[in-house]
Structure formats: C-alpha cells, structure tokens
Subunit: 231 residues, 2 copies
Amino acid sequence: MTTVRGARARARVEITAAIKAEARTQLAAEGAAKLSLRAVARELGMVSSALYRYFPSRDDLLTALIVDAYDAVGAAAEGAATETAGRRPLDRWTAVCRAVRAWAVEHPHEYALIYGSPVPGYTAPQDTNAPAARVGLVLVGIAREAHEGEGIALPPLPDPLRPEAVRITADMAPDLPPALVVALVAAWSQLFGLVSFEVFGQFHRLVEDRDVFFTHAARRLGQDVGLLPRG
Amino acid sequence: MTTVRGARARARVEITAAIKAEARTQLAAEGAAKLSLRAVARELGMVSSALYRYFPSRDDLLTALIVDAYDAVGAAAEGAATETAGRRPLDRWTAVCRAVRAWAVEHPHEYALIYGSPVPGYTAPQDTNAPAARVGLVLVGIAREAHEGEGIALPPLPDPLRPEAVRITADMAPDLPPALVVALVAAWSQLFGLVSFEVFGQFHRLVEDRDVFFTHAARRLGQDVGLLPRG
DNA sequence: CTCATGCAAGAGCAGTGCTCTCGTTTCAGG
DNA sequence: CCTGAAACGAGAGCACTGCTCTTGCATGAG
C-alpha cells in the first residue's frame, strides 16, 4: 500500500522531506560541491550516520535534488505554455524560453546541478530521464501546434547536409517532419547555451541588458524552427 | 629578469610544469571534483605540503588548469581559422565550430572545467579573461572579414525588439553594426549550448549521428549571423 | 665562506563520506 | 495482548581531504 501505515511511515516521509529541504538550502547557499551530509545532519539535529537510513549515499541525495530541479524547471516551462494557450506560437515559444531563463537566474545552483558539469563519477540514473525531457516536450508541443495549424514554415535550407541525414531517435516526435525535429533539437540545446552563459557568468561585462538580449535571441530561436512572426 | 637564474629557478619551473601535468592527468581521469592535492603530490613522490610552495591553494592550481584549457580550445579555434584562410566565410565558421567541438569531445573534463558549472566559492580571476575570449574573437574575425567583403547579409528582422536596444559592451567590435554584434554573441553562446549538450550527455539516446547533426547546426548558426551559403 | 633564503618533510587540525555496532523504539503477525 | 523482527538514532572509527606550522637541510648570492 502507498497509504500511510502509521506514525513511523509518516515520520519517514517528513524527515526525508526535511533532509531534502535542508540540502536544497545548502545547495542554494554554497553550491553542489560544498553540500555536506554531515552539515545537513547537524542542521537537522541528527548525527550523520542517521541520514544514511534515508539516503544510501550522498550521490543519492544529489539525485533526488536533480529530479526536483528538472521538475521545477519543467513545471515553469509548462506553466508558461498553459498561460499563453491560444496565443501565437512564436509568442508562446518566447514565453517558455523566458520562463526557463527566469527559473535558472533565480536558482543558479540548482540550474548548474542539472545543466552544468556532471558530478564526478556520477552517472544519472534512469529516473531522471522523464523529468529531464519536460522542457523539450513543451517546445515540441508548441512547434507541433504550429505545424498542425499550418502556422509554421521552415526556411529553405540551401545546405549540403540534408537534415534527413541527421538521425534523431524516431519515437521523439514521429508525426513531425525530420527537418523540424532536427531544428527543434538544435534550438533546444541552443536555448540552454544562452541560459548557461548568462548563469555561469560568461556574459559578465559583455551583455548589458540581458533580459532584452535573451528575449531577442529566444525569439530568433523560435523563428529558426519555423515559427512565423505574424500569425 | 625572466631568464633562468640558476639550477634552483630551473627546477622550479620544471616542478611547476610536472605538477600541472599530473593534475591534468587526474583531471582527465576523474574530473575536477576529484582532483586531490595529496594524490598529485603522492604521484610525484612529494609530500602534500611541498606542493604549496608552487600553488598557494587548490583553487590556484585549478585556475592554472582553467587558463590552459581556455588557451587550448582557443588555439584549436585559431588553428581552424588559419587553416581555412581564403575560403568562404561560412565554411570557415563551420570549421571553427567543428574544431571547438572536437577539442571538447576529446577533453570533456577540461571542457567542463571552463564551460560547466563554476566551482564552489571560486570566482575566476582577471587573468582568465583574455584566454576565455579567444574563441569568440575568432568568430568575430570571420564575421568581420565577411562584412568587409560584403559577403554578409543579415536577414531582415521582423522583430519588435530592435537589436540596437540590446546593449553590448561597445569596445568588443566597434566597427561592426550592432545587429551583427548581437547575432554574434547569441551564436557564440548557442554554439556552446550545442557542444555542452553533447559533452554532458543530454543527447544520449536522442541524437544518433552527432557529428552530422553538429555540422548542420553549426552551419545554420553561421547563416544566423548573416554568412552567405554561396560566396 | 657565510648566512639568509628556498625548499621538503612531518605532524597536526578540522573537516569529509561512509561503515559498523549497540541499545532503543516501533509495528505487525500470531 | 505479546513477542520478535525490522527500523531507527547515536556513537566510534576508518581512510581520506585541504591546509597550516614548525623543523631541519641544501642552495646560491653577497
């Protein structure tokens, strides 16, 4: 049963949540590298070994935070998409990009956890895959809507490399033309290039008005996948 | 004097180089987070405290590696630019992007060091600025050449956000039109979005032929800054 | 030749992730 | 209701980390 079976089970979920909350606080304050199991336990009034009853290792605690971060940025993107339902696809695209950026700027350490360097020997377990895909799926959804409504026009590609030659996993969006899927994957990664450079400080003393810059770049990204500027 | 003043000075530069070499080996093997001063010293047959004669702290050793990494990827980009001198700007652009990607794929941990999450409380000192700018300057140079030769055409921007409204530090490329500078900065960061997603594994089980995909995306990036497909 | 300086070694401090043991508390099956 | 298994918190301990300080030795400049 997944229902609460008693005081013990209730305490377990509460303590697990408290550990994650305190870990997230330390993460936001100092970054992932300085997240210390002992410090978390100390702050919670426990002893470090007691924490291993809830998370088998430090990496497992990090994994939980990673999943939460993916879910948070995914929820931000989905929220922006639903709030702009019915508007022009290019405006929706831009709104979603801006929501991702806003979340990243507000939670730089959590952003770094999921879109920065992978932690040392750590390989992401399978259960991070679904949360990690949420932002991408939102973008695909907007493009699909535009495509079905004929509100999309991929610019001609005078390119020796036909996009059909780029093999993308088919089950991602089998209903969309390959050229659009390729453009979407590229735009998706390029979006996080823009966000990462801002969050990681590469725009320091280079881009003054980062909000305006990002909005402009995100809009052009939407045009790159064929979203039309006028509905 | 910068010349060698004696056996002592010679030994100093040799040992400094040996430390950096061993540190780079460990960096490539395990990643930045697992780089241990004691392990480096152990491997070199010294005791850990002796290492502090050469690097005041672990972060200073990391800084040295960061500068080296920026220089390495910058040199790769510059090499690709000089090797393709005289060819069409769009081809040169693509070649430079491919050189950056190739270096990143070959040195993932060093790439993560400079384009991944910033390390914990660490703020990059001033002497990393110049090496960090090299790749961007190569891209600017190619765009400038195309612009001077009239081989550039920024597509019309039916965009409510005029690029002139995006303030970019003026002394970056004062001779180029603002719209081009904005497009260049965006393309620069988007290039590293493509590379980071590949190196950090976000394309896992998604993009099959990553070399073809990257070349295609890099070429479109070049077109985004106005480089013409036909010379 | 002398002596300040550069240097390696070692001990030591405070901190880390993690394991193991040892009493105690809780909860479920008989 | 009772009992035994499971879950739990506390503590000691291991091997490791970055870093500091002191001690003695070798180098090389004056």
